[in-house]
């Protein structure tokens, strides 16, 4: 593993503004001792995130708008190439999924925590990331029984 100058693992924390980000920030004790940076979707949350670490806003996108997805993808590529994280941690949604894949391509480990909003099934983004995730957590015990390689240890909310 290539570590940053201060010999610490660098962690990319990524989540869409709103509920996904609320959930991610509840877990902050998990990465306290590491160097972190954030990737999120709206300027509205950037001010708050900058208190915790460098923050990149890449804009909102979902699968209904392909052009937006491509634009956001390009921005994410730029961020990941510059930052070179050792680990990507995400609670979703689409942007989290994109960043997890990009990180993985560059050798990062991937931690996915599927949003508590998903009760019956794992989210679409989550189902895609499950193939590459090194740790995959869900927030309802029933979901851990439904899928393989998925763990339930608790709920963020």
């Amino acid at each position: 593993m290539v570590l940053s100058k201060n010999n610490k693992m660098k962690i990319c924390l990524t989540a869409s503004a709103g509920g996904h980000l609320t959930e991610l920030l509840k877990l902050a004790d998990g990465w306290q001792e590491y160097e972190v940076f954030y990737v999120s979707t709206a300027n509205m949350v950037a001010k708050k995130l900058r208190q915790y670490g460098p923050t990149h806003v890449v804009g909102e996108c979902n699968r209904e708008h392909l052009l937006r997805v491509i634009l956001v993808l390009m921005r994410c590529i730029g961020v990941i190439l510059r930052e070179r994280p050792n680990v990507v941690i995400s609670t979703g949604a689409a942007v989290g999924c994109i960043v997890c894949y990009l990180g993985k391509l560059l050798g990062a480990k991937v931690i996915w925590i599927d949003s508590i909003a998903n009760v019956e099934w794992i989210s679409l983004s989550g189902r895609m990331v499950r193939h590459i995730a090194d740790l995959f957590l869900v927030q309802w015990p029933e979901l851990a029984e439904q899928y393989s390689n998925v763990e339930y240890v608790g709920a963020a909310i």
Binding site: G18, G19, E23, A117, V153
Partner: protein, 160 residues
């Protein structure tokens, strides 16, 4: 004051319009304040804004006697934290309010656990608002520490 909020990603006019119409029927005897997103719909019966700064949003939320919203995790989290009676109506894919119908399952789950009230159609909204007045949400025992701990153990294992 009842705080009506629909999140910030997309508008949710079906809910805003329904609350506005219920006002006409004199079923709401309280002031309503709404955050409704970027939309052309303008409520006749209460004050509304497209979006609020986080700090102002939190302030309004805390001041509200109860909250009406979509079934978004952000709002549900805030209601649980502030112990506010919350009534949700899930966004539906068929009205192009979201990419899928997962909010229905979210609403049902949190409703089942006694944390929130939920309605699944505008027709049920008047009844929901009536119940909201006396609704006392059950407190939730979350376990973010357990997840944080699992993440910490995983990260430590990478450095061995």
């Amino acid at each position: 004051m009842i705080f009506l909020t629909v999140g910030t990603q997309f508008p949710f006019d079906r809910l805003v319009r329904a609350v506005d119409n219920i006002f006409d029927q004199d079923l709401i005897d309280e002031e309503v304040f709404a955050q409704i997103g970027e939309t052309s719909y303008k409520p006749r019966n209460f004050e509304s804004v497209a979006s609020l700064e986080k700090k102002v949003f939190d302030e309004r939320f805390k001041r509200a006697s109860s909250v009406i919203s979509h079934a978004g995790v952000g709002t549900i989290t805030m209601a649980l934290k502030n112990h506010k009676p919350l009534l949700v109506m899930p966004r539906m894919k068929r009205y192009k309010e979201h990419v899928n119908d997962h909010q229905v399952a979210t609403a049902k789950k949190f409703e089942e656990l006694g944390h929130i009230l939920a309605v699944y159609d505008v027709k049920e909204l008047p009844d929901g608002i009536r119940k909201l007045k006396n609704f006392i949400p059950l407190k939730r025992k979350a376990s973010p520490d357990a997840i944080a701990d699992r993440i910490r153990r995983f990260l430590n294992s990478l450095q061995d």
